[in-house]
């Protein structure tokens, strides 16, 4: 339970950063989707089944903050997570450089799957006067800009997170060696 609360607080912080901090640094339709980047990373690391609860929680939180009907972002994040896990199982390898590039590919796939699912849901469920995303948005410059923004954010965060993971693993080994010695 404390872990779930920690995840919820982290998601809230990411949403606030995404809606209040980043828009002043990026063009209007290309603000990076921080929550999506973290979710893609989580799905690749843990698999779709283990990350599903986090996908649902993140979707619910983002639906609350986006004033969209509850369920929109849950479905779009789940679709993105499914697409990413499908490809990750087939392409993920251990070599660090290729692994980074494949992560980039996962970010691209996740962004496209998320945006297209949201656009389809908007078109079918929201009144046309409320929100209907045109085809030019789905395939045009805005989507590519958003992908670039997500990739930039991921690239900035990847190496520190990677180092942190190595430190955590090394620390874990030290403790187990110490316990063995005793």
């Amino acid at each position: 339970m404390p872990r779930k609360i920690y995840i919820l607080i982290s998601l809230l912080l990411l949403v606030v950063l995404q809606s209040s901090f980043l828009p002043n640094f990026f063009p209007e339709n290309a603000v990076p989707d921080l929550v999506l980047v973290v979710l893609v990373f989580s799905v690749v690391q843990r698999g779709f089944a283990d990350a599903l609860s986090m996908l649902i929680m993140a979707g619910f939180v983002l639906d609350l903050f986006s004033f969209l009907p509850i369920g929109f972002n849950v479905i779009s994040f789940s679709a993105a997570g499914l697409a990413v896990s499908f490809l990750a199982r087939r392409f993920m390898i251990s070599q660090s450089v290729w692994k980074f590039l494949i992560f980039i590919l996962m970010i691209v796939v996740g962004t496209a799957a998320n945006d297209w699912t949201l656009a389809a849901l908007s078109k079918f469920f929201l009144n046309a006067s409320e929100a209907a995303v045109p085809a030019s948005f789905l395939l045009g410059g805005e989507l590519w800009l958003k992908m670039l923004g997500n990739i930039a954010v991921f690239a900035l965060a990847y190496w520190p997170l990677h180092k942190l993971k190595k430190i955590k693993m090394a620390y874990g080994e030290k403790i187990s060696i110490r316990n063995d010695v005793r």
């Binding site: 809230l12 912080l13 949403v15 606030v16 950063l17 995404q18 809606s19 209040s20 901090f21 980043l22 828009p23 002043n24 640094f25 209007e28 339709n29 603000v31 989707d33 929550v35 779709f48 089944a49 599903l52 649902i56 939180v61 983002l62 609350l64 903050f65 986006s66 004033f67 969209l68 009907p69 509850i70 369920g71 929109f72 972002n73 849950v74 479905i75 789940s78 679709a79 997570g81 499914l82 896990s85 499908f86 949201l118 656009a119 849901l121 908007s122 469920f125 006067s129 409320e130 929100a131 209907a132 995303v133 045109p134 948005f137 958003k146």
Partner: protein
């Protein structure tokens, strides 16, 4: 051995999607509003802090980036200043006074309204629609459908949702935004609609009513809580609607919505 048509992950996804689709279809409006209100209130201080911090940082970076353009901009402004001074001398005071009076008759003075100043503290995190969050809410007398203006009476949107301390402003460029407007030069009436955050269009204008490039578009005050005489923008292009029955005008907004820091809510 039976062949599995769906992997466990696909079944999980279908289960989640099916449940969510039922929720969306039955659309229990208002059911999660208290939860939404709670989260918005809880994060409001962080939203305000982060937004103001990012404005400060982006201002510094913007200034550093623009140093190279300052010289060119300065020369351009000096040339324009000289041209304007010559125009002023040529046309004389009468024309200046005439233009000022004409504008005053169409634009309502700011002093007539009870205005509540508010900081912009956030935007749509998904960028699928055009709205912004302000730091004033129900406790400050903000209600739904109130008009929101910037600078000297330039309409930017309307209040769509409120919590105790925050409110959501749907901008004119949002596809859900619909405002009755008129051309201040020709009195041609129409409906202003947003286009997915990409721009705003004055639609449903009769083909007999004249529309000219450069005309100012203002609110007509018909059928809504938005008062008459608030400036929207300038006509950029006039074209026929897809159904060929009406005219349309692409309107260039007077302000850039993404640059707004402070807005005013018209409470009366």
């Amino acid at each position: 051995m039976h062949k599995k048509y769906f992997s466990p992950n696909v079944i999980r996804f279908l289960a989640v999607a099916g449940f969510c689709l039922l929720m969306i279809f039955f659309n229990p409006r208002g059911l999660f509003d208290p939860v939404r209100g709670f989260f918005l209130e809880a994060t409001y201080p962080f939203q305000k802090t982060f937004f103001l911090m990012s404005r400060t940082f982006s201002g510094v970076f913007g200034f550093l980036g623009s140093i190279g353009d300052l010289k060119n901009e300065n020369e351009r402004l000096i040339r324009e200043n000289s041209r304007l001074a010559a125009d002023l001398a040529q046309f004389g005071d009468a024309k200046k006074e005439n233009a000022m009076l004409r504008e005053q008759m169409k634009l309502v003075p700011r002093q007539k309204f009870d205005l509540e100043a508010a900081f912009v503290i956030g935007q749509d995190p998904q960028r699928m629609s055009s709205w912004m969050m302000i730091d004033k809410g129900e406790t400050d007398g903000i209600r739904k459908e109130m008009a929101v203006v910037a600078n000297e009476g330039i309409l930017v949107g309307k209040i769509a949702d409120t919590t105790a301390h925050t409110a959501r402003v749907v901008l004119l460029s949002d596809s859900a935004s619909v405002i009755n407007v008129l051309d201040s030069e020709t009195d041609s009436k129409g409906i202003l609609k947003g286009e997915f955050g990409l721009g705003i269009v004055m639609d449903m204008v009769s083909q007999q009513d004249p529309l000219n490039n450069g005309d100012m578009i203002i609110t007509s005050g018909l059928g809504s809580s938005v008062p008459r005489g608030l400036l929207i923008g300038k006509i950029q292009e006039v074209r026929l609607a897809e159904n060929k029955l009406f005219q349309q005008a692409i309107v260039s907004p007077r302000v850039k919505y993404s640059d707004l820091d402070i807005v005013y809510v018209i409470k009366n």
